[in-house]
């Protein structure tokens, strides 16, 4: 995928049992303000719900936000479900509370980028633009 001809659509999802979604909402809003269409699905999403939503909404990217520490368990499940549904080209990025030392493991699991606390939303927007060549 060199360049994207239509409107860029991004799913922002919260897997696991986190009790709040402030960070996810900040990112969702920033992406909207950057001109993207953001589908937000709310709290407590299972890997299947996230992958099926990505399919139905035909998104280009999935952004996962997690605070609970279950990322090493949940993220590969989500990537697996996406691939199972044939969504090979959908890139996944993540944010929330993710220890530095887990980042390379996650990247090997198919997560394109990990944004830790304190990341500027501009960095995320830049990542989206670079990834989709827009």
């Amino acid at each position: 995928m060199t360049s994207h001809s239509g409107k860029i659509r991004i799913l922002i999802a919260k897997p696991g049992l986190d009790g709040h979604d402030r960070g996810a909402k900040v990112v969702a809003r920033a992406l909207r303000d950057a001109g993207f269409e953001v589908i937000y699905t709310g709290l407590r999403q299972t890997p299947e719900m996230i992958a099926e939503s990505a399919l139905q909404e035909d998104v280009d990217l999935v952004g996962l936000s997690i605070l609970s520490g279950a990322h090493l368990d949940l993220f590969p499940q989500i990537v697996g479900k996406l691939r199972e549904k044939g969504l090979d080209k959908v890139k996944v990025f993540a944010g929330g509370i993710i220890p530095e030392e887990d980042i390379s493991t996650l990247q090997k699991m198919g997560i394109s980028a990990v944004f830790g606390p304190g990341t500027s939303t501009q960095d995320i927007i830049r990542f989206v633009k670079e990834t989709l060549g827009s």
């Binding site: 239509g6 909207r32 589908i39 299947e48 909404e57 035909d58």
Partner: protein
């Protein structure tokens, strides 16, 4: 494979007809983005459309439309129907982006293979829907979804476009949204086939109900329709009223078929659709020919108040070799 999407519109159409969810999702995007293969796919699908019961769901923001849809979708699934949902949210006029949050209340349905939900940004289109909504509905119709809900952007009084798009228009109100007075104004209230007062366990529900009841009584002079719009109380979060609404929707469908209004509404929709496409097509062809010096010259004359816009339009039209009568 979907990757060669441009070269195989016919294959894609075939996949949609088989209910292939990924193909459905891809074509919905092509239609939204106005990509060239979309038209051919739609052409291949068109003869398979016209079967679904199209239900518009409109009402002010916060009335509980999405939550009600969750309950209704589950109810129609229990009645053996496949359910499609197209949920429209506004686009930001500044960035062109959109935050589409209708799925939040309906995510439970994602696990059900008999439900397909698609969020759509209005992309600057006014009237409560997106330009591509009617084509999106056709795709779901062709794919075998028997009941298709079209949720409009939180609508006020002017967003009546849904009435010409759907067979049945359901207006959802809630107490305390300032509707006591607004209920008396014309707009969406004139086009509703079914009225729901959601959150009816809240304070002010009786006032909203009686305002609507009064309005419906005085609105009895609907042209050419014998349907009496029911007024239903609901508490969507508790599932109250959902059964009654589902029954009313099926009753309205039966009424449409018996009275001949089904065909009538379909004919009206076809006419409006062809007119809309014709208008857009003509305009884009006109623009294609008009870009040029005289276009710029005439526009600046209008801006400088040397020429009025009506005369400007006439002069521009006069330049065109339109077919003579």
């Amino acid at each position: 494979m979907i990757t060669d999407i441009e070269s195989y519109p016919r294959d894609l159409a075939a996949q949609v007809l088989q209910g292939e969810r990924r193909a459905i999702a891809r074509i919905l995007s092509l239609v939204e983005d106005g990509q060239p293969p979309a038209r051919e796919v739609l052409a291949n699908l068109y003869s398979h459309t016209g079967k679904a019961h199209l239900i518009g769901v409109t009402g002010p923001p916060g009335a509980g439309k999405s939550t009600l849809l969750l309950g209704l979708a589950k109810e129609f699934r229990a009645r053996g129907k496949k359910v499609g949902i197209v949920a429209v949210d506004p686009s930001s006029p500044l960035s062109g982006g959109a935050l589409l949050g209708d799925r939040i209340r309906m995510q439970e349905l994602t696990a059900d293979g008999g439900v397909f939900i698609r969020s759509m940004a209005a992309r600057g289109h006014l009237g409560g829907l997106a330009l591509a909504t009617s084509d999106a509905v056709k795709i779901l119709d062709a794919a075998g979804y028997e009941i298709i809900f079209i949720e409009t952007v939180g609508a006020g009084q002017a967003e009546v476009e849904i009435a010409s798009e759907a067979h049945t228009t359901m207006v959802v109100e809630a107490p305390g949204l300032g509707d006591e007075i607004q209920a008396l104004k014309s707009g969406i209230l004139e086009v509703g086939d079914i009225f729901v007062v959601n959150k009816s366990d809240r304070e002010g529900a009786e006032a909203t109900l009686s305002a609507l009841r009064f309005m419906l009584k005085t609105e009895e002079n609907r042209p050419s329709s014998k349907w009496q719009p029911p007024l239903i109380k609901a508490v969507a979060t508790k599932g109250e009223g959902v059964l009654e609404i589902a029954d009313a929707l099926q009753k309205h469908l039966a009424y449409l078929k018996e009275s001949g209004e089904w065909e009538e509404r379909n004919r009206m929709r076809s006419e409006q659709e062809v007119m809309r496409i014709l208008g857009a097509e003509l305009l884009s062809r006109l623009r294609g020919r008009l870009e040029g010096e005289s276009w710029a010259a005439i526009l600046s004359q209008v801006a400088e108040r040397k020429l009025d816009p009506y005369r400007a339009a006439e002069e521009l039209l006069a330049e065109l070799p339109l077919p003579s009568e």
